[in-house]
Amino acid sequence: MTFPDILRRSWHNLGRAKVRVGLTAAALAIGAATMTLALAITQGAEDSIQKGFGEFKNNFVSVDGFSSQNTSANGVQTTDEADKASEELQDKSLGVEDVEKFKAIAGVTQVLPLSYYTFDEVEINSQSYKAPYVSPLTPLDDMNDLVAGKREDLKGNTVIIPERYAKQAGATNAAAFIGKKLVFVKKGTPAFFGRPAQPDTEVELTVVGVTKSSTDNSEADSEYAYLSPETMSKLADEDRGTTKPENIYYNQILLLTDESQTEKVKAQVESEGYAAKTRQDSVGQALEAVNAIRTALLVFAGIAIFTAIFGVVNTQLMSVLERTREIGIMKALGLSRGGVLLMFSIEAGWIGFLGSIIGTLIAIPFALILGALGGNAGFSVPITIPNFLLVVIVLVIIAMLSGFLPARRASKLDPVEALRNE
């Protein structure tokens, strides 16, 4: 018998015991639904990680400081050694000479020293509001959500700010917000144990760009305002009272690289005692966590599918017993052992196929509900075509393997016995 004929005949054969086959498929479907949801949830997590890290390009190395080096012989430090190492690490900070060193590394296209600075308040029309977090704008920020202004205008005392501040400035739309002057304030500290009082720092910044704001107010904290890296560094240095260039230090130095050179640059930087991280590292850590969750959920699905296997074996054993005569006829007509084996295995495979389809149909409403719940947090639960196909293939293969034992019994049947007139 050719394969298409076997496929067709075994499908027809399922129709004979609809209730029995339906119940067996339903048992498999529970496993299939669990598997579908496990894959959909982790797919959603993966998608949101990828989205969070922007378009995935492994084209930079971030140097955040120095790695602590354990110098003791067998890895166990005395407390003195540990204290000393920790002090040394604190004293060492990224400075101008580090920037120069990085510039010399092959594969580095640009070296961006970054400092962080925070404001407490922003004054708009003499009214004080909580200030947004400010971040230095780097080439890694794609600024896809810029709705007014140009990123090139971000120099000196200028700012790119989320749209939600526009209304406070009396601007009816994002474009009208451009050119407004806002006063950003960092609160000073009062005199304390002999330390002189620090006055408030006020900086007037002109709006040169406006980014899209979410309609969800809880998202406000995740919307950043951007300053140029130079302005940020200047503010940070002034805040620390740094005047000499050799005393300037940075929170982070960003090395832009050719994508192909990234890992090499990272290795080079690390060999010189710095702590370095690539986007690959950040994404990789997050994806590893997702993988662990996926494995856990798939174990549940596996248990459900495993119990359903017994149903498939049972159903197919009954089917073989009921159809002794038919198997005898087919063998008498010249169907080989292998043909009978294949026919009954495929029949079991069809049950797996039905189970995977029913399971997916069960999973869809759950995925929609979970997706709706996670929608606000930008989290979706997508049932993708590749994941659907994976579920179908896995269930068909498992069902076929479960059907092997009954199929083998069918193939071994003696046609002479089966066709006795009794």
């Binding site: 004929d5 087919m330 007509l333 010249g334 066709l419 006795r420 007139n421």
Partner: protein, 237 residues
């Protein structure tokens, strides 16, 4: 030509052995109609199974078309059966939930006849047994006589060289039985297919050109046109 040389078939193990066939030799010319007669348990069905390659005697030879099928691999015997042999059973053994078309198409599928050729062959076979109007009907909706005609269509669809019929009229009333007999003998005349009927119906056996009487696993007598030749063959062994 079917040549059977000294076949022996034993069932059971150790003390409980039962010799179904004991040193049986037989020769059946092409196109003959042969009745194998005997009581229940005489070994007549076992002889048929041995001739068709369904069963394997321990000793002897079953030579069909000059080839000993007992020497062939199981898979090759399967292929041989699918191309050379047709079966008809007392209890019909048609698939009730399948259409007449699918029932008749089964041997063609097993023999891997290309799909394009099947339709014409199935229709031709159903025409020969006068069931063309039932082509899309499910077999369970047919009467007993119609079921046996359907079984005949299934047996002849692949134009077999040998047709084995095991009590073909045993489950039918005499009028319907007559019709089925007529169908089988007509087919034998038109196509030249060798017809081997296992029966204990003496009247049906009388219509065959050759009668083989079996008792206790041995050939008791061979009568009819080819009897002399067959007896000679028996004498050799």
């Amino acid at each position: 030509m079917i040549q059977i040389k000294a076949i022996t078939k034993t069932y059971g193990k150790k003390q409980n052995t039962f010799q179904a066939l004991n040193n049986v030799s037989l020769e059946i010319p092409d196109g003959a109609t042969v009745a194998i007669l005997g009581k229940s348990g005489s070994g007549k069905s076992t002889l048929m199974h041995a001739m068709s390659g369904l069963d394997r005697p321990e000793t002897g030879q079953v030579i069909i078309n000059g080839q000993d099928i007992l020497q062939m691999k199981p898979k090759d015997v399967d292929t041989f059966r699918s191309k050379t042999i047709g079966f008809i059973f007392q209890a019909f053994f048609v698939q009730g939930n399948e259409t007449c078309y699918d029932n008749v198409s089964l041997p063609l599928e097993i023999a891997k006849v290309p799909k394009s050729q099947r339709k014409a062959l199935v229709e031709e076979a159903l025409t020969k047994v006068d069931l063309t109007d039932k082509i899309k009907e499910r077999a369970k909706n047919l009467s007993g006589g119609q079921k046996q005609r359907l079984a005949i269509a299934r047996a002849i669809v692949n134009n077999p060289q040998i047709l084995f019929a095991d009590e073909p009229t045993g489950n039918l009333d005499s009028a319907t039985g007559q019709m089925v007999e007529q169908l089988l003998f007509d087919y034998n005349k038109k196509s030249g297919t060798t017809l081997v009927i296992v029966t204990h119906d003496a009247e049906l056996a009388g219509k065959c050109s050759m009668q083989v009487h079996i008792k206790d696993g041995q050939i008791e007598a061979i009568k009819g046109a080819s009897a002399a030749k067959a007896s000679a063959a028996r004498g050799v062994n």
